[in-house]
Homo-oligomer: 116 residues x 2
């Protein structure tokens, strides 16, 4: 039984847009991710999408408007809402999604989520 | 559409052990809390209990052993596991629980969770 130190987990890998599972919560994966540049437009038809920025500046573009997040800012993209995350420089974030949710909204293009 | 700044939310109240709802995620309340001193022993028979420490030092006592959390540390207490959080000095934390979960594990003694 040990706490998960998010910084230590983030220091253990370098890939971008490849969420790593650090814990489980009520059937959800709790993940850390490093991001840089633009991700793809996508949506999740069955789940909200939880973002908490730990480091850097993230913009979540949506058709209705953009949300800007810095360290200590969180935003939950509602189920079904199309969005495109854009990291200005490198961003570290905590993500929560139901286990098995494809990060691109599409299983054929999704990153494989490893537990670290 | 605006990000939730956790520090600004935490700066807006003073009470201890009274989680404030700042967002919703898949039927869960996303909350910030200020804590100081010992909470009560309790468990949640139907849900895991998510803690992310933002500031200060939190110990989560459990019958099997204790978990120590500092800033940037998270721990998920599994469903049904008895635990007692103890804040050494003031602690600020992010909590996630299904909407309506009593923070003491008992509706008759639970804090009322206001949305801020």
């Amino acid at each position: 039984m040990q706490a998960v130190n998010l910084k230590a987990k983030l220091d253990s890998f370098d890939e971008h847009w490849t969420p790593k599972i650090v814990s489980m919560f009520n059937g959800h994966d709790v993940m850390v991710v490093k991001a840089e540049g633009e991700f793809t437009w996508h949506s999740h038809p069955d789940t909200d999408d939880f973002f908490l920025v730990l480091e850097g500046e993230l913009v979540i573009e949506m058709r209705e408007g953009d949300v800007h997040l810095g360290p200590g800012d969180l935003y939950v993209v509602p189920k079904g809402v199309e969005h495109r995350p854009i990291a200005k420089g490198e961003v570290h974030a905590l993500l929560i999604e139901p286990a098995g949710t494809p990060n691109t909204g599409d299983a054929t293009t999704a990153a494989i989520k490893e537990r670290i």
